[in-house]
């Protein structure tokens, strides 16, 4: 607006150093207030969300208290709601997913960060990032049409045949179930592990590797015994991120888990997860208690993912700062 002819003595943006009126005149105060409103609305909407979850589950929380977490009966007719089967299913599928995705993901990240020439690494990373963008309903569809039949016809019978003495692999081969859901989730979270681990590995200072190699270590030993431990916190961070995604995943899981609230030692058994039961039952939960129990489940899920994301961020930033690179999460 008004360009003054006098030279402003202080150079550089120093907030609050000019008088309120001069800021107002130049439109800065308005800009500040408007952008503040937008920023505040983010906080407002988040607070509102947490509030709605808390309020929306008040009946259920008062009626069941902490019993909610260790009762396993989910009976809409007799109005008994216990969250245990869903918590169990959510945790088990996430555990299976991590068991598969972590070794594969870290292995791929090591390859991309340590071995592959820069252009190959960047190209492959490009594809991995695209994999992360695939919507979950598509993973679900592929789960239903490819993974489930594969599991039912080949993998599950083979597991029963060879490892059936373990309680882990007993029961009929439905095709759907904890194991199948875990496998689909693993595919979905691998890109997170790979891309974050790759970044933290790349940020490990060169001299670490060189020191190890100069002491006579093989490439693998230098990687596995020096570089990876150095980046350990960041890698754990990527695992927590992956875990948070796996816990909250809805569509792909509900299409392949079997939608049965069961707690079973067998991975071949059908089960249920928190997100899946909410998706299936929310629009038709007759009775306040049923609806509120579902909202309480949503609250539980929200808290879990929130804590995990927090840890993840902390760990990743710590590692990145230790290295020379900039944390970019």
């Amino acid at each position: 607006m008004a360009t003054t002819t006098t030279i402003v003595p202080s150079a550089g943006p120093v907030a609050g150093s000019r008088s309120f009126l001069s800021r107002l005149r130049e439109g800065d105060e308005i800009a500040r207030m408007i952008t503040f409103l937008f920023a505040a609305s983010v906080v407002l909407v988040t607070v509102l969300l947490v509030f709605e979850l808390w309020q929306g589950s008040v009946l259920a929380r008062h009626k069941f208290g902490f019993n909610f977490f260790h009762t396993s009966v989910w009976d809409p007719i007799f109005e008994q709601f216990g969250a245990l089967p869903f918590i169990y299913g959510t945790l088990v599928t996430a555990a299976v997913a991590l068991l598969i995705a972590v070794p594969l993901g870290i292995g791929a990240a090591i390859f991309l960060a340590e071995l592959a020439p820069a252009r190959v690494s960047d190209t492959l990373e490009f594809f991995i990032d695209l994999l992360a963008a695939v919507p979950s309903v598509i993973y679900g569809v592929l789960g239903v049409f490819i993974v489930v039949p594969l599991m039912r016809q080949y993998v599950q019978p083979a597991l029963k045949h060879s490892l059936g003495f373990l309680p882990l692999f007993q029961g009929p081969a439905y095709g759907v179930g904890f194991l199948t859901a875990g496998i689909v989730l693993a595919i979905m979270v691998i890109p997170y592990i790979i891309s974050v681990s790759r970044e933290v590995l790349l940020s490990v200072p060169r001299d670490q590797r060189e020191a190890a190699l100069s002491l006579g270590a093989t490439r693998w030993e230098s990687t596995w015994k020096v570089v990876v431990p150095f980046a350990r916190a960041g890698i754990f961070g990527s695992i927590f991120l992956a875990l948070a995604r796996a816990l909250g995943e809805t569509m792909a899981v509900t299409m392949v888990i079997g939608n049965t609230p069961t707690i079973s030692a067998s991975l071949l058994s059908p089960g249920y997860s928190i997100a899946a039961v909410i998706a299936n039952e929310f629009t038709e939960a007759t009775g306040e208690l049923h609806t509120q129990s579902l909202i309480e489940l949503g609250l539980v899920l929200f808290l879990l993912t929130f804590l995990l994301n927090g840890f993840a961020r902390l760990l990743i930033v710590t590692t990145s700062r230790r290295g020379s690179g900039m944390g970019n999460v």
Partner: protein
């Protein structure tokens, strides 16, 4: 060479090859997905698909025209709602705020980002559908917009911060006010990154299904205006894939292919803008 050294060298070669295998497996999944959808759905991506409405259950020849439009409308709403909040909020964080406010805003954004999409659906139902007694495109757009906010906010803030200080100081030295500096110098300098952030946020919510289950419901006709239930691509994919009708399966694959290609193209364009500097016209 001692046997021990030979062993260690072998282990090294073996393990490193294994990591290559891991990378290969991870990357090939992407092509598997694309390939499967292309083979099974490619033939069904035809004129009918883009122009016809769904037909009664059990009949053939229907399409997903209303779902495509419904998704487009909701995404438009989501962008109009989520992007300004993220964008202007980021400007506040990068240019105006003190560190305590910034902390709370960023914390809230991270929280919002981590909310599982089904919980966003519950929230949108309680806030928009229930009070107004209406499933609607608006509610769906609101839910999707909520999910766009944190991505837009955090990325935009980072790109704004990335603009070097000398640029700001030069503008100030020429007598420009703060907001003018932001509008004419800083934002244009970060334009590429901000656009990328918006595109990536858009691509992310384009495929979301769960929040739409409780907000947009569904519609076998065109959805008039903004206050009625509407069909959407992701929900149609979900419904059709689980049904027993072969014709619906084919349509689900076709829809999946279209949706996936759209999302991938947006992602590729976004990254290209950022890294190679595709000439992006500045207003």
């Amino acid at each position: 060479m001692s046997p021990r050294l030979r062993w260690r060298k072998f282990v090294s070669g073996f393990m490193l090859t294994m990591t290559g295998v891991c990378a290969l497996v991870a990357v090939s999944v992407l092509f598997l997905i694309l390939g499967y959808l292309a083979i099974h759905g490619g033939a069904s991506v035809n004129w009918n698909f883009f122009t016809k409405l769904p037909v009664p259950v059990g009949e053939t020849g229907g399409g997903m025209a209303n779902a495509i439009l419904g998704s487009a409308k909701m995404l438009l709403l989501a962008t109009l709602f989520g992007v300004p909040i993220g964008f202007f909020g980021a400007i506040y964080l990068a240019e105006f705020s003190g560190s305590t406010t910034a902390f709370f805003v960023r914390y809230a954004a991270d929280l919002l980002n981590g909310v599982p999409s089904i919980v966003i659906g519950i929230f949108a139902y309680g806030l928009v559908v229930h009070p107004f007694k209406q499933y609607s495109t608006l509610a769906g757009g609101f839910a999707l917009g909520l999910m766009m906010i944190p991505i837009t906010l955090r990325s935009t803030e980072e790109f704004l911060r990335g603009v070097p200080n000398p640029l700001r100081e030069a503008a100030m030295a020429l007598g420009a006010s703060k907001w003018k500096t932001i509008a004419t110098v800083i934002v244009p300098a970060a334009y590429r990154g901000i656009l990328t952030a918006i595109l990536l946020a858009f691509a992310r919510v384009a495929g979301e299904t769960a929040p739409l289950l409780f907000t947009a419901l569904g519609n076998q006709f065109w959805s008039p205006g903004w206050t009625h239930p509407t069909a959407s691509l992701p929900v149609m994919i979900y419904t059709y894939a689980l049904a027993p009708y072969d014709d619906w399966h084919r349509q689900a694959w076709a829809a999946g292919l279209v949706l996936l290609v759209l999302i991938l193209v947006i992602n590729i364009v976004a990254r290209a803008i950022l890294s190679r500097g595709i000439a992006v016209p500045r207003s």
